[in-house]
């Protein structure tokens, strides 16, 4: 039932513009993989290629050993959940859910039974006879989900399914989607631009940019060990500081930033450090120290904002504009000279691109 999806060397064009470049991605059986990126990054194009609404210029798509590349959309047997739900406005909720079964030649009584059972699972049994026009956004999305699940597809795909719902419902729905997906063990591809959403429900996430995958890994790795500056910025590393090594002493490395400030970094805590590198730190990973002489980057504090768990400072340093967090117990005024100390566990080392 559940099957792995393999996308190999996929290239696609809109007219003469290349929108996808030699993209490869494999999704293991039963895994939920998100394609995450800003609009125009190629995530929706990838989904539409797999669904069969677009033809690739090169590359192959295989689902459980079955080559889908040349197959028309209606023969691919993929459950799709659309951003705008795409319910059939002229059919009742029950007939919407039964539509795919009807195409598969499932007879009336059996079809109704299975559609009702699926509606039961998404909690809409009482709305079976309504038209989609009479449903709320969340209800429509449940119908769309039920409609895609009831055909028991070997692959489920979601195209920004929650972006039209309000924030609270979005969180509830994503839990629900993940539970249904887990229970069925269906291989799934989930397209979204919402990082929190992608990270919270996925086994693995592919961060996309300009038609390529920038990094494909588990949310934990992406969050803590981004592979490059793009991903680092994407997952919220506010500070990217270019540095070069000036001295090595066993596991400790002395590195210098622009403006001459030096830091001593531990390779035991941060992994191997090349001669030239970028130090990526979240605001949380740069501690503000009142002691201007501490072993950090000297900076002048600017605007202070209150985050609830900490104060955040916009800082000016010889290495450039930096964002750092300071303790609530010691609010500091703008203009104060301070030292920004990297917290090794919250920082990571990136190669120079």
């Amino acid at each position: 039932m559940t099957q792995p999806l393999a996308i190999d060397n996929l290239t696609a064009h809109y007219g003469t513009t290349r929108v996808l470049e030699d993209l490869s991605l494999s999704v293991a059986a039963g895994e939920l993989v998100s394609l995450l990126g800003a609009s125009g990054c190629g995530k929706t194009t990838t989904l539409r290629l797999v669904a069969g609404f677009l033809e690739p210029t090169a590359g192959t798509i295989t689902l459980g050993g079955r080559d889908l590349t040349k197959l028309p959309a209606y023969r691919r047997d993929i459950g799709l959940v659309f951003q705008n739900y795409a319910l059939f406005p002229h059919l009742t909720v029950l007939d919407n859910v039964g539509f795919g079964l009807k195409q598969r030649g499932v007879a009336g009584a059996e079809r109704e039974k299975r559609a009702r059972a699926m509606l039961e699972r998404v909690g809409l049994a009482t709305l079976a006879d309504r038209l989609p026009g009479a449903l709320s956004g969340g209800q429509k999305q449940r119908v769309a989900l039920a409609r895609a699940l009831v055909i028991e597809p070997p692959l489920l795909m979601f195209d920004e399914p929650l972006s039209n719902l309000d924030a609270k419902l979005r969180v509830d729905m994503r839990v629900e989607i993940r539970q249904l997906q887990r229970a069925n063990g269906t291989t799934s591809v989930y397209v979204t631009h919402d990082q929190e959403e992608a990270f919270s429900i996925s086994d693995r996430v592919a961060i996309m940019h300009a038609g390529r995958i920038m990094q494909f890994d588990t949310p934990e790795v992406l969050y803590q060990k981004p592979a490059n500056a793009f991903v680092a910025r994407f997952v919220g590393f506010e500070n990217l500081i270019a540095m070069r090594v000036v001295a090595r002493d066993g596991a400790n490395v002395t590195a210098e930033a622009a403006g001459g400030a030096r830091l001593i970094l531990s390779q035991e805590r941060m992994g191997p450090i090349p001669d030239a590198f970028v130090l990526a730190c979240r605001a949380d990973g740069l501690a503000v120290s009142k002691d201007a002489g501490a072993a950090g980057l000297p900076a002048t504090l600017g605007l202070r904002t209150y985050l609830g768990r900490a104060y955040q400072y916009q800082c000016e340093s010889p290495a450039g504009h930096l964002v750092a967090n300071g303790a609530l117990s010691t609010p500091l005024e703008p203009g104060v000279a301070a030292s920004l100390v990297p917290v090794a566990e919250q920082c990571c080392v990136l190669g120079v691109e």
Binding site: G52, A73, Y74, R75, F99, G100, L131, G133
Partner: protein
């Protein structure tokens, strides 16, 4: 406060124009048919007692229903292709459908006079090919009127239905095929049902237009294929039977307005996208 009446003040001139020059005169026309010395309904009794006039009404209904049915079929399939055509070609096809609409009814009916006449193009071609020995008399037949009316209304139907078909969201059609419906099944189970309200609107436009037409039946049907419009003109301007003409006018108004109201109610009920 002036503001409370601002809406009415702005709408007043147009409202007055319609009330004074449309509603009152048309109401007066209808009213005169009920003020005959012979009795309230006497002009209508006279109309329906005349075999000739009953025939004209029946013929008009036949012609307009045939025109509507043929235009619907032609318009729907052509509109389906136009709506799915790629960008540039689509604009060309839409403009090609708009152009005949810019050309008046008289010109477009006159074209068929050249085509269908005794020495017209069709007869010349057919005799030239040796398919017929003698020219056929195609003018002044019900068929000639229907062909010309279909010609008149197909562009309108295509434009109406292209709009309707384009309003069907692309992702609904994609949802259908992702659920396993073949293109033919998608057409039957999704596209056609969603186009039905639009088809009704188009049908109403064509029916009312052809039911009350004058120039086309006059040119291509003449005296032999008299319809409600031409009969009304003949009663009013040749026979100076203004009561008779008013009676025909009243029957036309009642039939068109009934059809419009009834069908727009049906269309609204069938329109699932209304909410």
């Amino acid at each position: 406060m002036l503001k409370r009446f601002a809406g009415w003040t702005l709408a007043a001139p147009a409202t007055l124009v319609v009330a004074v020059f449309l509603i009152l005169p048309v109401a007066a026309t209808i009213a005169t048919t009920f003020a005959e010395p012979g009795g309230v309904f006497s002009p209508y009794i006279a109309f329906f007692n005349s075999g000739f006039r009953r025939n004209v009404l029946w013929r008009t209904l036949q012609i307009s229903l045939a025109t509507t049915a043929i235009s619907l079929v032609i318009g729907f399939f052509a509109a389906y292709v136009v709506a799915r055509a790629p960008g540039r070609l689509k604009s060309i096809l839409i403009i090609a459908a708009v152009f005949p609409l810019l050309t008046g009814v008289v010109v477009r009916s006159f074209a068929w006079l050249i085509i269908l006449g005794k020495n017209g193009i069709l007869n010349n071609t057919l005799t030239g090919l040796g398919l017929i020995a003698e020219p056929l008399s195609m003018l002044y037949t019900q068929g000639a009127v229907i062909v010309a009316m279909v010609y008149l209304f197909v562009p309108l139907m295509i434009l109406t239905l292209v709009g309707v078909l384009e309003n069907i969201p692309e992702d609904v059609i994609q949802a259908s095929s992702s659920l396993g419906a073949s293109p033919a099944a998608t057409f039957r189970q999704v596209i056609f049902p969603l186009a039905v309200p639009g088809l009704i609107v188009g049908a109403v436009l064509v029916f009312t237009g052809s039911f009350t037409a004058y120039a086309t039946p006059q040119l291509l049907g003449g005296e032999r294929q008299m319809v409600m419009g031409t009969l009304m003109y003949q009663r009013a301007m040749v026979a100076f039977d203004w009561v008779g003409a008013s009676t025909i006018a009243a029957i036309m108004v009642v039939i068109t307005i009934t059809v419009v109201l009834a069908m727009s109610r049906v269309a609204r009920r069938l329109n699932p996208m209304a909410t």
